[in-house]
Assembly symmetry: C2
Homo-oligomer: 345 residues x 2
């Protein structure tokens, strides 16, 4: 690895001049020198030592992406990246980070202290917090004195320490459930694996649609998938039995919808004949189902890109008007919701 000092001495120049040319601070260098230096730089394939650069400048060009795995246990708790929504979002982040000339460091941990240590060791320029619950995000953002952008974090009392990129989960779910109701459904189950953050908001959207239609809600309508049970196939028996009492089911993710459909079909359910299903995400799982899944479309890749782009603006010192960026969704109507002509009361 050739250094600036070496280049300077070989060219009979000072390190300052070489450094200036590298950084395009060209107004004080003669055209001839610029030319000469640039040619040489290419010739020897100079690459800067970023550690030295960062040390001198007190920056890092690193965007840290932190996943907290415990809170967001989709079907496989061991490997949170196996959730397609998560990994697609990360893909979007990577793209935006790279295009902005930054680097991405991925860090998966449940331990807030560990996360803070990590970002401070690397002097990370900005942080994206993903799959992290309210208070944890607040805590990190409060201790870390640089820009933080969260994805899908609902903050009770928004501390103002971070910008959040998310959906309007309550409204989005409300519309989907209203669609079920408009199709004559009144006995509608709600399926998820937790009741915090995003899923809580979706739950309230579901409740709102029910209330508006004068449908009473009972705790039995809440179908909870326990962590690990999907992998093991436990409990689904019970859920499928309970499903007999419903004509429709709203699922908090396409994965769950697809999985549930498979379990239901195994037990003789016709879909949507016996039970209608709506998912959330509109990823590949919705197109692997048969019949094809009616679902709420969101763009995970865009979510990641927007989060990263926003963070980088913040890192560059720009002001962001709003603390809450909401992406649009829409209902994609496919083949898993049937119309009930004579609604059963």
């Amino acid at each position: 690895m050739i250094t600036i000092k070496e280049i300077a001495s070989r060219l009979g120049l000072s390190t300052t001049t070489v450094s200036n040319v590298i950084h395009g601070k060209t107004r004080e260098v003669s055209a001839e020198t610029i030319e000469r230096v640039q040619r040489f730089l290419e010739e020897v394939e100079y690459v800067p030592n970023i550690n030295a650069r960062n040390l001198a400048q007190g920056q890092s060009k690193i965007i840290g992406v932190v996943l907290k795995s415990l809170e967001f246990r989709r079907w496989n708790n061991d490997n949170i990246l196996s959730d397609p929504f998560v990994s697609e979002t990360i893909g979007g982040i990577e793209k935006a980070v790279r295009e902005a000339g930054y680097y991405m460091m991925l860090y998966i941990s449940d331990d807030i202290a560990e996360i803070l240590q990590h970002v401070s060791i690397w002097n990370v320029d900005g942080l994206i917090l993903f799959c992290m619950m309210d208070d944890d995000a607040d805590r990190v953002a409060a201790k870390y004195h640089k820009p933080v952008v969260c994805i899908d974090t609902y903050s009770s009392g928004h501390s103002g320490n971070f910008v959040n990129v998310g959906l309007d989960d309550e409204e989005d779910t409300y519309k989907a459930v209203r669609y079920l109701i408009e199709n004559g459904h009144r006995r509608i189950a709600f399926l998820t694996d937790n009741s915090v953050g995003v899923d809580r908001a979706r739950f309230w959207g579901y409740r709102k649609a029910l209330a508006e239609a004068g449908i009473e809600y009972s705790d039995k309508d809440f179908f909870l998938l326990r962590p690990g049970e999907i992998k093991q196939g436990e409990y689904t028996e019970e859920l499928c039995t309970r499903a007999h009492n419903y004509t429709a089911m709203f699922c908090c993710s396409d994965i769950y919808a697809a999985l549930m459909m498979a379990e239901l079909k195994d037990r003789g359910f016709e879909i949507p004949g016996d039970i209608s299903v709506i998912g959330f995400d509109d990823n590949l799982y919705s197109r692997v189902c048969s019949p094809r899944l009616t679902t709420v479309h969101q763009n995970a890749d865009e979510k990641g890109r927007v989060a990263a782009a926003t963070l980088i603006r913040l890192v560059r010192g720009e002001m962001i008007e709003t603390k809450e960026i909401r992406l649009k969704t829409h209902l994609v109507i496919r083949d898993t919701v049937r119309r009930i002509e004579a609604p059963d009361m």
Copy 2:
């Protein structure tokens, strides 16, 4: 951020002593001093500046993970992480890297020069090349003079510049296709989206099983999914029409198997009544299908962990006996292959 220098001056010690305590070079420090320093370190929550450390030591503690997106175009070329096999493997890598006290930098690019520049800027200690074809991997490994581990790379003339972690794709596929043949199938299609690397090896396993059973192969038996067509739903019409001539189909991934099953069912095919299907990977897609997919199981998470662990051994200067680490697979028999009693000739 408090520095060693600051700590030393506050404690009335030298930076050397403080540094020694931090690194456990304790044989030359008095017990009392150790105690005093350690207590103070905790008190002020000292975190090292890794840029300075790396600069002084000429290392980085970074494991670079490079994805080359172009060569491996599953269903969504824009966002390679949306492929569950890819993202699960990365999850496995991250785990092993973190547990070994290293950091992971994820970099997605098609441009070899860009990749090399990236790793040399960051002085990355070791490299994992993923989704990269033979010659590209060779080229990177040749120019980069530190340890390289590839995942699923088939090298024509193995340069010896890297260790590869993969499967025995030919043998694994051979067994799966033989299973179809043992069940009376003779008209068996092969579905994939490319014919290089892993998929080429699988193709030869398929051919081997056919040949062994005296079944003639024709180019028509090769079902090629074109990039982008899955997203658009183009061409599947043609593939489904051609499928009428077969009693079974071997698919190079669960995604494709699941997708194909949905398309086929849409057109009235019974599975496995009209056509049997086998997939590869055994990820969640195989359990979302109905009926449940018979498939070749591989452990993506483990693949990632093994690759990372191997790389880190290399980085630490250990010797690795073999240049080719092959993980085991096995056929998971579920419900998509039927037995044909009177084989149709």
